[in-house]
């Protein structure tokens, strides 16, 4: 009897052992509940659209939870890790247009012009641009004809998704143009490089330029006509505007000047049906999504639905401080951060905007001269961005602002045309250019008193006019480099190079360093000279 029981026990335990082993080993395949695989996302056309929305959304948000909490970019404070805030710092804080009071890691390096390869903001910007490129590459792969066919998506749905891929290519070209402008020679990857199986090679600045140009030309006529796409999505106007922009600057990126092409492409945009809105001071308001006459492509923000701590929320809160009343700007409090140097107000006939209404400065209690970069009251504040609507009611939230940010607007195309014409255009080009400049100035002055004559149209005039029209919109560093005024000692501004009166710095700083985060991860990369 004992024996039987023993055998039973032995067999039972043996079964228990082996049974448990077999069943449990298979159970090591565990899947998440709420996050889904690419196969599930791309099963439906609406899934494609939601993944496509992320390609644009990565301009606007810092991550997948508003305002923060699930960031896209690691390694710096999430609130500072959106595209526009980082790009703005790299393009504006490094110039005469802006200074900042804060001590965030690396933030003062921009104005002091002593950034290094480990600057966290430059690292964040670089990875943010590549993040969008990586998303675009993946989306283009997912939206290939084979994948669509395999997933049973056909007809109008498949056509719509195919159109998304042209916009993905546009966004990728845009980010490569940013990278080429900021960092020069950068790692290069397209949808042909499958993730996880390759180490990107470094493309020279010229190669990147040629790629961006080729891509934009390839998709130019595939994109919907200007103003024909949904608000917030790129159309033909955007592609042409970007081409005009890189052609104007081609001499910086490659040896050949392309002013003729800049004229052609800015003209295409100018003639595509856009017009200036009537009031310059209404460009950057909470309901500026209605400025579709002038805006070619915007980054869209919403106080309730597209929240983050960067973008126009940053551009509205950060310049409010000192004696400024936050409520005037439609926000619940100022961050007391960014101001401008005296060089910018000096370009206007008066600082109060009496004559040229583009001058939007707050000077009460502020000192024009800057003794201490970290004191908000040193330097005039800028009141260009206000979270109030045209009817002066406030935006949907006092914390996160509704203002959309125009990546391209018609005024810039006028100025591109004008500069290209002034540099190498024909007489009729110059005549057109004067008209365009005067369009801007009539809006600014409210009348023709600010108009210029053909004789006044010089490249240097256009540079100043760009500052007056486009200040704080992310153009200044590129412009100064094109005029060799960025690092050179011939043009100074307060605290340029970390010296109160300003000083020139070494020319290698015309490009930013590749982040050491990438150089230490990718053996193919060679650091920019000087760093």
């Amino acid at each position: 009897m004992y024996m039987k029981k023993n055998i039973f026990n032995l067999v039972a335990s043996a079964l228990l052992f082996s049974g448990a082993m077999v069943s449990c080993t298979k159970q090591l395949d565990v899947l998440p509940l709420n996050d889904i695989t690419s196969e599930q996302v791309y099963k439906t056309p609406s899934g494609y659209k939601q993944a496509f929305a992320k390609l644009y959304g990565s301009f606007a948000t810092t991550g997948n939870q508003g305002p923060n909490g699930n960031g896209d970019i690691q390694g710096l404070d999430e609130g500072t890790a959106d595209f526009l805030r980082l790009y703005w710092k790299a393009q504006e804080l490094s110039t005469d247009e802006a200074v900042v009071a804060w001590g965030d890691p690396g933030i003062q390096d921009f104005h002091n012009m002593n950034w290094s390869a480990s600057n966290p903001m430059l690292t964040g910007l670089y990875y943010r641009s590549f993040y969008q490129i990586t998303l675009c590459n993946d989306f283009i792969r997912q939206a290939s004809a084979e994948n669509l066919a395999a997933r049973g998506i056909t007809g109008a749905d498949a056509d719509a998704i195919k159109k998304y891929t042209f916009e993905a290519r546009f966004l990728r070209a845009y980010q490569y143009s940013i990278l080429m402008d900021l960092f020069g020679a950068v790692p290069f990857a397209t949808e042909k490089d499958a993730l996880g199986s390759f180490m990107p090679k470094q493309a020279s600045r010229v190669d990147v330029f040629n790629y961006v140009e080729t891509e934009l030309k390839a998709i130019e006529n595939e994109l919907p006509a200007a103003k024909a796409n949904e608000y917030g999505r790129a159309d033909r106007g955007a592609a042409q505007a970007l081409l005009a922009r890189i052609y104007l600057n081609a001499g910086v990126y490659s040896t050949a000047q392309r002013y003729a092409d800049a004229l052609v492409y800015s003209k295409k945009v100018i003639d595509a049906g856009y017009s200036l809105i009537s009031n310059y001071r209404q460009l950057m308001l909470a309901d500026n999504h209605t400025n579709t006459n002038e805006f070619i492509l915007t980054i869209n923000y919403d106080g309730l639905k597209t929240q983050n701590w960067g973008g126009t929320t940053f551009l509205t809160h950060a310049p409010v401080g000192g004696d400024m009343i936050a409520a005037d700007y439609g926000v619940d409090g100022g961050w007391g951060g960014i101001r401008t140097t005296k060089n910018l107000p000096a370009m206007f006939p008066d600082v109060n905007g009496t004559a040229d209404k583009r001058a939007q400065f707050f000077s009460q209690g502020q000192s024009l001269d800057i003794n201490d970069l970290t004191n908000f009251k040193d330097g005039y504040a800028v009141s260009k961005f206000r979270n109030r609507k045209k009817d002066n009611t406030v935006g949907s939230s006092l914390t996160w602002v509704d203002i959309d940010f125009p990546i391209f607007r018609l005024a810039e195309q006028y100025l591109i045309y004008a500069e290209a014409a002034a540099r190498s255009g024909s007489a009729s080009d110059k005549t057109n250019a004067v008209t365009y400049i005067n369009n801007l100035r009539q809006r600014a002055y409210g009348n023709a008193t600010g108009n210029i004559s053909a004789a006044a149209l010089t490249p240097e005039f256009v540079l100043d006019e760009r500052a007056r029209e486009l200040y704080w919109e992310g153009h200044r560093r590129t412009d100064l480099i094109r005029f060799n005024r960025f690092t050179d000692g011939s043009y100074l501004w307060p605290w340029k190079g970390g010296v109160k009166g300003g000083t020139g710095v070494a020319a290698f700083r015309n490009v930013y360093p590749l982040p050491s985060a990438d150089v230490s991860s990718n053996p193919n990369l060679k650091q920019n000279a000087g760093y």
């Binding site: 023993n6 052992f17 449990c24 159970q27 090591l28 395949d29 565990v30 899947l31 998440p32 509940l33 709420n34 695989t37 599930q40 899934g47 939601q50 993944a51 929305a53 959304g57 948000t61 991550g63 997948n64 939870q65 508003g66 699930n70 896209d72 690691q74 390694g75 500072t80 001590g103 390096d109 002091n112 480990s118 600057n119 990875y127 993040y131 490129i133 998303l135 590459n137 990857a189 996880g196 919403d302 639905k305 597209t306 929240q307 936050a326 409520a327 619940d332 409090g333 970290t374 004191n375 908000f376 939230s397 006092l398 970390g498 360093p513 150089v519 230490s520 991860s521 990718n522 650091q527």
Partner: protein, 1027 residues
């Protein structure tokens, strides 16, 4: 017949030493006795008488045992020993065995040889402690080959302790336990030999009654260990080196802590009741300015606007200003009552315990009320062939969390302001106002510290059950073989709410609804469930092979664990239940599983040489199919030198053992559950993107790392255990080296190759080397005075040897350690060639008088500019060495003890001084006045400039000596008509700290001193009744 035969066979093989289980010993002796009984009865008829004399002594020191019973088994005849321990007994000459018993000592059977029989009895406590719990089994302490430390009830730290790990603080070499804060129920950071990881977890694996726990906390109780009643714990066993831990494979790199709870015992029920009453008080406050000093600074540096802000100078009861820290702290009262019953119902031994802890925090409003129930049943059936061990631990914990934001607020709130405004707005609390703002409050101004404390109701309820059943079956037909199945579950649910009234300034009118109406306050809830299940089954085979004088002990088993958490997501709501934001999903269920096979062989050759080999294969659901399984081997050897002829008879060296071991362990805790595939995550309603007039929730592919695998740590260990003068002096010296490769290390990804720019990958290596010394002394051992002294010392050196794929001279390392001040500033770095967690700072320049010069730093790379390239690695957060000391004196009915610790070479970033001790902080540019650290008077720092926060000036030596505990006890003796025994005790916790560090406390996890919840000094009165 079969049964008897088997039992005989079993007894033959066992009497030498199947030492693992005391019960088995009992069984054997009983059987032997029965056999002898039969034999003696049958032979009695022919007997003649003889007289045997002898002496009965304590095996420990040879002292005579008075009143020990010497029985001639079978005859029923018995005598007791006299005052000198001697006895004399007359027996039939045929009788060959005596039984000697004495309370508190193990009963012994001895053979009669000649007419004189002297016996040394072994005390039961020594016998018990001789058995050590190891992974998947037990062993005799003297047969250990690995680095294993045991701490039993007797050696526990005494006092009002809320969390089990506090019982062994300072007691074990190589084990560093630092409580996270002074808050009730807050946990500790435990590091064994420094920890082996960078970004994966450095926490040891905790195994309770054989069941590995998940280290994570649960909503409503961040410290899962605090849900276990320390009073239910019998022993801690700490496995330190890989030869001991490798049997736990993939989670063993940071050591293993095994907790065994108290079990039932056969016999009449005994009841223990203990009660502790304690009072905690704040020891030291942050040294801040007085209100007149603040006013002086404002007058000196501020403009008229600032001067007007402090013009309504506050004087109350003749005392200037408000001491905000006095406002938020209180004396904290606690009670801890425990009752336990231990006994057996027929053959069912049990222990049932009930405990209640009610502890207030020294920060007002905080409280922990924990009720625990423990049940242990450990019956043995089928003549000890089947042993069952059932353990149930249930705890119900109700916490009220004080808003710890008040700590920092009290340091920096303007002391010239009163607590209350005199009107009813904002709950009556004084706040910074701005009539032009929509809330009436000054934007970004700090809020009243007492207000944020009293205007928040944050309560949680946590229920946790840990239950496991161990069935240990010894095969009837092959008693050398046992099958053990251990099945258990750890189930917990935590839930709670946070309510802030609409009047509270901190959340005043915080949300504007789509109709434009404002709502304030908070009315939120949270809930989480954990369900961890465990199954382990193993076979153990033990046999003495007499022919080669070798004992073999082999174990092979299988284990499966499932960790399932359910996180419930709730809307963020204002006090009036207006929804501010809603989650995408009502809940999420993260889960991971482990499946493992394990084996171990122990050989004991000639009782001199001990060999151990173990191997474990772990499979984890966290890795892709190809990398899922990892193998973790170990080998160790020990040589008992004291068993060799040249030492066997030494009176001086009574114990001497050389141990050497090597093993490989892994780490997979602290990494994502599903990271080997890119998963798409849906953005929240507040992170949508607008096309046209439609907002889209976005699908985002997540970063992933397909080839991630285990982090592997290879540990070598060499040790010498020694005992001198019969154990009056004993100790261990150990040397170890741990090399971790394939570090789970958050590294930068090459741009354009992943959806995340940083990912935890297997890149890098690190090394820990160290020496541990343990010394136990008994300088005095007399009948009425015993003095025990134990001392341990640990020296650990940690070096990072590789961090990146590609070498870039520009890459300084991985920066971390966020500080308050600036946005995104970090103060620490992991760099190759340095210790983990070095500070990464600018070198402060000082004037001739030794005063730091504001914003002047050394240009270390001499390139003419001060930027990140001038940061340098400075010191580190981990101590180079640490010491523990405890002592206990027992004299008659009195006993007294002390526990002290010291850390040497650890540094701390004084974030309180850096963020508050500046002119800029006191005269905040936004237009309000703050208080700050008195540091500002010494340094005069302006607080402007971008690099100020990263000055090495704020990195301060935080070496310390801390007296953790001083205790005194008195054994009153019999009370209640001799029915009970009463002991009373008193102790003081956190008695004294000696340090050069000038912040609040030199001992803080993470090396950054910022708004630390102070550890109170606690006075405890306790009574203990046994009946």
């Amino acid at each position: 017949m079969l049964c008897v035969k088997n039992t005989q066979k079993f007894s033959i093989h066992s009497h030498q030493s199947n030492s693992m289980l005391v019960n088995i010993k009992h069984l054997i002796s009983r059987f032997v006795l029965m056999a002898l009984f039969l034999f003696s009865v049958s032979s009695a008829a022919f007997s003649q008488n003889k007289t045997i004399t002898g002496k009965i002594m304590d095996s420990n020191d040879g002292s005579p045992l008075v009143g020990a019973t010497v029985t001639a088994k079978g005859t029923g005849k018995a005598v007791v020993t006299d005052a000198s321990g001697r006895y004399s007994i007359e027996l039939p000459s045929s009788l060959t065995q005596l039984t000697i018993s004495y309370a508190g000592f193990t009963t012994m059977e001895v053979s009669i040889t000649g007419n004189s029989v002297d016996v040394r009895l072994v005390s039961t406590s020594a016998t018990l402690s001789d058995v050590v719990v190891i992974g998947y089994g037990t062993t005799r302490k003297k047969d250990l080959t690995g680095s294993v430390a045991t701490i039993g009830t007797k050696d526990f730290v005494k006092g009002a302790l809320t969390s089990p790990e506090q019982l062994i603080i300072g007691k074990v070499a190589g084990v560093q336990i630092t409580s996270n804060s002074g808050a009730p129920g807050s946990g500790s950071r435990i590091r064994i030999r420094g920890g082996a990881s960078l970004n994966a977890s450095n926490d040891p694996l905790i195994v309770i009654d054989g069941m590995p726990l998940d280290n994570g906390g649960i909503s409503g109780q961040a410290n899962a260990l605090a849900l276990i009643n320390p009073n239910d714990i019998e022993t801690f066993t700490i496995l330190k080196d890989a030869s001991a831990t490798a049997i736990y494979g993939s989670r063993a790199s940071n050591g293993v802590i095994m907790i065994t709870t108290k079990k039932g015992a056969k016999g009449k029920p005994t009841v223990n009741f203990s009660s502790l009453f304690s009072v905690g008080k704040i020891v030291e406050k942050v040294d801040v300015l007085t209100s007149s000093e603040v006013r002086n600074i404002v007058n000196q540096y501020g403009n008229a606007a600032f001067r007007s802000v402090v013009s309504d100078f506050h004087i109350q009861n003749g005392v200037e200003g408000t001491d905000w820290q006095d406002q938020i702290y209180q004396s904290a009262l606690s009670t801890d009552n425990n009752i336990s019953v231990r006994g057996s119902i027929k053959n069912l031994p049990y222990r049932l315990s009930l405990g209640n802890l009610n502890q207030d925090g020294i920060l007002k409003t905080g409280n922990l009320n924990r009720t625990t129930i423990g049940l242990n049943l450990n019956p043995t059936l089928f003549k000890n062939h089947l042993k069952i061990d059932f353990n149930l631990k249930t705890s119900l914990s109700k916490s009220t969390f004080a808003n710890e934001g008040a700590i920092g607020a009290a340091v920096s709130f303007d002391p010239t302001k009163p607590v209350y405004s005199g009107n009813s707005e904002y709950g009556g609390f004084w706040e910074w106002l701005d009539p032009s703002s929509s809330t009436g409050l000054k934007a970004l101004s700090p809020k009243n510290p007492l207000g944020i404390l009293l205007q928040r109701d944050d309560q949680s309820d946590v229920v946790r059950h840990i239950a496991n059943l161990v069935v240990d079956y010894k095969f009837h037909f092959l008693p050398e073989l046992r099958a053990v199945v251990n099945a258990g579950a750890d189930i917990a649910e935590g839930k709670g709410h946070t309510i802030v009234p609409e009047s509270a300034a901190s959340t005043y009118l915080r949300f504007k609804d789509p109709s434009g109406k404002f709502h304030g306050g908070v009315n939120n809830e949270y809930r989480q469930e954990r369900q961890n299940t465990y199954l382990n089954a193993y076979l153990n085979y033990t046999k003495d092979i007499d022919a080669i004088k070798t004992k073999i002990d082999a174990t092979a088993g299988y284990e499966f664990q499932d960790y399932l958490t359910t996180n419930y997501n709730f809307s963020d709501k204002t006090f009036d239940n207006t929804i501010v934001s809603s989650p995408n999903f009502a809940f999420d269920k993260p889960q991971y599983r482990l499946a493992s096979m394990l084996g171990r062989v122990n050989l004991n050759i000639l009782n001199k040489i001990l060999l151990t080999g173990s191997v474990r294969q772990d499979g984890s659901s966290k890795f892709n199919v190809d990398n899922r399984f990892g193998i973790f081997p170990s080998a160790a050897a020990a040589w008992k030198l004291n068993e060799e002829s040249f030492l066997k008879n030494s009176k001086t060296i009574t114990d001497l053992k050389l141990r050497i071991g090597y093993g490989v362990t892994g780490q997979q805790d602290g990494i994502g559950y599903y990271d080997y595939i890119s998963y798409y995550n849906l953005s929240t309603a507040t992170a949508q993107y607008q096309f046209g007039n439609t907002f889209y929730q976005m699908y985002r592919p997540g970063g992933y790392y397909f080839n991630r695998k285990w982090e592997q740590t290879a540990t070598s260990n060499i040790a010498l255990d020694f005992g001198l003068f019969n154990g009056r002096v004993s100790g261990t010296v150990e040397l170890y080296k741990k090399e971790t490769k394939d570090l789970l290390n958050e590294i930068n990804q090459p741009a354009a190759t992943n959806f995340s720019n940083k990912i935890v990958a297997n890149v890098g290596s690190m090394e820990n080397k160290g020496v541990e010394v343990t010394l136990n002394l008994q300088p005095i051992k007399k009948r009425d005075l015993v003095w025990d002294l134990s001392f341990n010392a640990t020296f650990n050196q940690n070096t990072i040897t590789k961090l990146t794929i590609s070498d870039d001279p520009n890459y300084a390392g991985a920066r971390f350690g966020g500080i308050s001040g600036g946005t995104g500033n970090t103060i620490m770095i992991h760099s190759v060639g340095y210790n983990r967690g070095a500070f990464f700072t600018y070198k402060q320049v000082y004037d001739k008088a030794g005063k730091p010069i504001d914003n002047l730093f050394a240009d270390l790379n001499r390139d003419g500019v001060i930027n990140e390239r001038d940061l340098y690695q400075y010191k580190g957060i981990d101590p180079r060495m640490f010491f523990g000391m405890s002592t206990n004196i027992t004299s008659g009915k009195w006993n007294a003890g002390l526990v002290a610790r010291s850390n040497i070479g650890n540094y701390m970033y004084n974030n309180v001084a850096s963020s508050t001790g500046t002119i800029r902080n006191i005269l905040n540019p936004i237009g309000y006045v703050n208080n700050g650290s008195r540091e500002v008077l010494r340094s005069g720092f302006s607080g402007s400039g971008a690099n100020y926060f990263l000055s090495d000036y704020f990195v301060q030596n935080a070496s310390f000596l801390r007296v953790d505990n001083v205790n005194v006890g008195y054994n009153v003796g019999k009370v209640f008509n001799n029915k009970a025994n009463l002991r009373i005790s008193g102790n003081v916790q956190n008695v004294l700290v000696i340090t050069k560090y000038n912040g609040l406390d030199p001992e803080m996890n993470g090396g950054i001193d910022n708004n630390f919840y102070p550890r109170p000094r606690t006075w405890v009165l306790g009574l203990n009744l046994d009946f």
